[in-house]
């Protein structure tokens, strides 16, 4: 019997002793990337927690190539690297733009849109910890409604979370998916599928951050799974013009199978101050999201 890629292929690339906080979702995701691509990947990383996690020159916590780039440029740099590899006939190295929600949903949106429209051959992964964590938990357009951040300190964020996956679907790119740190095997198979498709691929990866979301670091995976189990974070792939629900989310088409959103909210200090009215409207947000998904299946 051959050995499964997870964990065996994830052993060598992510090196111990990086600068991530205990319980950080970022290196968990990198282990999954390495299980698929080994050291044959080039990560293009704009300013974010990830830039810090890999450590300072002359060290690098990843046994893979990393290009540190300024904000807003990740998708543009990755486009260039992907084209250069193609010109040189290198076909066994995966280019991955790896950016936070701030660096994607806000600051990197223009270059992301450009790369998608030109359909460059790389995978863009937005790891979504739902705020600007590296600079001290400021709200981003991807912060969910009701969440405390240092820039929404009293009432929590008033606006709805921006759905970047939908924006990318509207670009007509060949592959868009949502994934979660709580479902590493699902994330793994999405990366495998994405790597076989030529052109622009986008993955939105839900990545609970214990520091910014105010929960015990041991619960990173538990919180990620609850987001899916409550139906707040829907796991799907979009290709061939329609949504394909992923395994963990499939039973939740039936609303009675979804856990109440409170179970997700109550584990996190950032939702400590939400009142009943807010909980109700977050529940409505879940129902509306599912209606949208159903219409596109």
């Amino acid at each position: 019997m051959s050995k499964p890629a997870l964990p065996y292929k994830a052993r060598d690339v992510v090196l111990p002793g990086d600068a991530a906080c205990p319980g950080c979702p970022i290196p968990i995701a990198w282990k999954v990337l390495s299980a698929v691509f080994g050291d044959k990947m080039i990560l293009v990383i704009p300013a974010s927690c990830s830039s810090v996690v890999v450590g300072m020159y002359p060290g690098n916590s990843l046994k893979a190539s990393v290009i540190h780039v300024p904000f807003a440029s990740a998708a543009a740099v990755a486009s260039g690297v992907a084209e250069a590899l193609e010109k040189r006939g290198v076909s066994d190295v995966q280019v991955i733009a790896w950016a936070g929600d701030g660096g994607t949903a806000d600051i990197g949106m223009a270059s992301l849109s450009g790369a998608a429209e030109r359909n460059h051959n790389f995978i863009y992964i937005m790891y979504d910890n739902e705020a600007y964590m590296n600079t001290g938990i400021q709200r981003s357009s991807s912060t969910p409604r009701g969440a405390w951040t240092t820039t929404t300190p009293i009432l929590g964020k008033g606006e709805e979370k921006k759905d970047v996956a939908r924006i990318m679907i509207a670009h007509g790119v060949p592959y868009v998916a949502t994934a979660s740190i709580g479902y590493v095997h699902d994330f793994y198979s999405k990366l495998v599928r994405a790597s076989k498709i030529k052109g622009f691929k986008f993955i939105s990866l839900h990545a609970p951050c214990p520091v910014g979301w105010r929960f015990d670091p041991r619960y990173t995976v538990r919180v990620a799974r609850l987001a899916v189990e409550t139906g707040l974070w829907i796991l799907y792939e979009y290709y061939d013009g329609r949504i394909h629900l992923s395994g963990p989310s499939r039973p939740l088409l039936d609303p009675s199978k979804r856990k109440p959103v409170e179970e997700y909210l109550k584990l996190q200090g950032r939702f400590k101050n939400v009142d009943e009215k807010m909980v109700k409207s977050i529940q409505e947000y879940v129902e509306n999201n599912w209606e949208w998904v159903k219409r596109h299946m």
Partner: protein, 91 residues
């Protein structure tokens, strides 16, 4: 005028893969994961999820943890389906 660049005079500032870019992160630990290898079913979930990549599960010998770098987050104990990992306070 043609400028001749001598390659040997330039160092490219390339960072190299290294263990412990943030030092021996085991010193951050407040709690230590202790594994009961008799209870362990070798499901690999703790190894797959450890953010520091310091857990190794071997079918014969069971689970081992590199405490030089384990940050004591407790995530392995939370994902273990049979409760084979306990977090105990560091001395």
């Amino acid at each position: 005028m043609r400028v001749v660049v001598e390659p040997s005079r330039y160092k490219i500032p390339l960072a190299r893969p290294s263990i412990g870019v943030a030092g021996k992160t085991g010193s951050w630990r407040l709690e230590r994961p202790i594994v009961d290898n008799n209870a362990c079913t070798r499901c690999f979930l703790c190894e797959i999820h450890c953010p520091v990549n310091v857990i190794r599960v071997e079918p014969e010998t069971g689970v081992s943890i590199n405490y030089d770098y384990c940050k004591g987050c407790g995530l392995c104990a939370d994902v273990c389906p049979v409760g084979a990992i306990k977090m105990v306070p560091e001395e």
